[in-house]
Symmetry: C2
């Protein structure tokens, strides 16, 4: 084991989750205790805070607030969607990052994000190696989309899945209260992977689940969709549908209204698919319809976060620090899980490349043949992840959230 002394940076990247701050707490609390890590710096808005030299001294925060991060939604340090250039084409950003690392004697870099963030880690690590600057770089996974390759699942997914399943189970009886029938379409996030919309199927455990689920893993056919909805509606008097925002036709064209807005990773912003499908159902059959989107709520609903998810998110952060201090670099923390004799989750390390820019989709055999629902295998996979209600700190009937002082670190 080679001992490496120096400061560390924790950065949050990409879309927030209900438990990304729990991973930050895992990193910060473990790093503050480590004898090798001399200072714990939080990057404002992810890698952008490194580039702009806006780093907060986490050692000056109230330890109670750091603990409260476990139960505070969103990325409290701020996050970004910033893609580093290919260093062979433009190394401006990398030079700046090296300069900041040198300024603060940063020897550990922990980056908490999804596919794009693992790519960022990978590029930074390679550049530092080339520059001869010793720095251990570790990726901590997160994404509600659960599309990271190389890990059983991602911190953040389970809490979003629990929100979607519970909310679906609550909306179903509400949407069917009148004697006039209703087709209700609920839209979940998920661009290329349908893990979130698929999780609506867990609502079946309450007896109030979806009739139909459409996912990006299966090419969408408007004709088949309309036939499916009609069959359910005529048979039962109502129809409840869950969809992923990213469902698309066989030619790849999104069903979504194309908003025309593209983020800095080149992703088109989605939304409005459920409204469009409602309009098609209404035109085709004249049924009453209702379109709903879970908006930000699905990724920030800490009040219904899974205790398992919070715990695993924290452990992922802590394990990244422990591993780095022990000499590991260029790895992403990953989960290796077994469900055969009760749920077991082991933390392991995978190469950063395994996740960088690759998306993990639902296996086709976990989706039924007709492509309009998930199978029991899918349920068995998700169910252990949503277990547990944490002891959330409350005050006056409202949650207690962390507040960071964000004191800028001097170089």
């Amino acid at each position: 084991m080679s001992e490496l002394k120096g400061a560390c940076i924790i950065g949050q990247s990409g879309g927030p989750t209900a438990v990304i701050n729990a991973s930050a707490a895992g990193v910060i609390q473990t790093a503050l205790k480590s004898e090798c890590i001399t200072r714990v710096l939080g990057a404002a808005y992810g890698i952008k805070g490194v580039l702009a030299d806006v780093l907060y001294d986490m050692g000056q925060e109230d330890p109670e607030d750091i603990e409260l991060l476990k139960y505070t939604p969103a990325s409290l340090l701020g996050t970004c969607r910033y893609k580093l250039a290919d260093p062979d084409v433009d190394d401006t950003d990398y030079k700046k990052i090296l300069e900041i690392f040198q300024k603060y004697d940063v020897r550990y870099f922990f980056y908490n994000g999804g596919n794009d963030s693992m790519d960022t880690c990978n590029k930074i690590s390679k550049y530092m190696q080339k520059a001869g600057y010793e720095c251990r770089v570790m990726g901590v996974p997160k994404t509600i989309d659960n599309d990271l390759y190389g890990t059983d699942h991602c911190p953040g997914f389970a809490s979003a899945a629990k929100y979607i399943a519970t909310t679906f189970a609550e909306v179903r009886p509400d949407a069917c209260v009148y004697d006039a029938g209703m087709v209700s379409i609920l839209e979940c996030m998920g661009r290329n992977a349908g893990w979130l919309a698929g999780s609506a199927a867990l609502a079946n455990l309450t007896g109030y689940g979806p009739d139909l689920i459409y996912l990006p893993e299966v090419d969408f056919s408007m004709e088949q969709f309309l036939a499916d909805v009609k069959e359910v509606y005529e048979r039962t008097g109502n129809c409840m549908v869950a969809i992923s925002e990213g469902i698309h036709y066989a030619d790849g064209m999104l069903v979504a209204h194309d908003s025309g807005i593209v983020d800095s990773f080149g992703h088109t912003l989605l939304g409005g698919t459920s409204a469009l499908l409602c309009s098609e159902v209404s035109k085709a059959f004249g049924y009453n319809t209702r379109s709903m989107e879970f908006c930000l709520m699905q990724r920030c609903a800490q009040h219904i976060a899974s205790a398992t998810d919070i715990d695993e998110a924290w452990r992922a952060g802590a394990f990244a620090v422990e591993s780095a201090v022990a000499g590991v670099s260029d790895k992403m923390v990953a989960f290796k899980c077994s469900r055969d004799n009760g749920y077991q989750c082991e933390l392991v390390l995978e190469p950063l490349e395994i996740a960088a820019n690759i998306e993990k989709k639902i296996p086709r055999e976990w989706i039924n043949e007709q492509g309009n629902n998930v199978t029991q295998e899918f349920i068995d996979y998700v169910l252990p992840l949503i277990q547990g209600t944490p002891e959330r700190p409350m005050e006056n009937g409202m949650p207690r959230f962390a507040h960071l002082k964000k004191i800028k670190a001097g170089g």
Copy 2:
């Protein structure tokens, strides 16, 4: 006390709430124990079930499912928005209701709803008196809108308020995670009364509350709204706004896109106001905006229902039965509350006319002078109502909801 033996009917009317089934449980459990009440009938889809002679025998339900109604959202018997005609103009419905009451020997009628439902109770009771048919009619209040006159507050409001306050507190940090600023507008239900949107202010207790709140009690000015948003955004870099769907201009015209759809009570269906305001902000200043609607979730989120609300909703149902059996008729159960030395809620009886078709709005002095936020008095009023987390029955990480067999009663 005059003893009156016979069957009772419980009906649910109007939009559902997270706790309307708790009131049904209060009625059913108390009625099943009463020696005067010979049979407990649940009306399918409110008064429509009476008119259509679709009544379920609640005595044949599993008592565990009746108990689970306390924790099951929506109107599990089914509900309706059905306005009875003026009996002097058209008494067809009333004749049918009398016929059904006679067929099942119904001597107690409990109707759980809002303003319109109290009007229904009132009309039925008056008709039965005129027809010389002895029947005790009691209104049990419910509405997330909290606009019933004659009661401190309505069952259902507190749970919706708790959902909105908690969700607002969670969305705020999430909506402000990027360094690019954002104006977020969250739309709550509330046609003429702003109790729900006002409750977003409780999020301030977490430190993550709204900057601005617009309510139907104050005439909306687009010019002032844009100036308010600009001031907050330029000062803080973000702006979080809560609005009622029913905000309107000084001439009464709704800010909402008029959907053109009118329900059977003559109410125009609303929605889309937050999107419209976002578009105005974006046009005026070019800020990033995000519009969100809480849709059905605000009224069916049992998973975050207030224990106080569930308890009061149950007690309201039970008290209606106890009072009717004791000889009372033509009353609505109401709450008389004191907040001076800790919160106290006493159940009282008010004439049905007090609530019928009158809407209770937020007192103007509980809204700030500028008309863009609520005052401490508003907070002090709502806060005791959202207290408490019930012990919800769970199974496999998901809620357990009631399932009714709905066995039709023979006449």
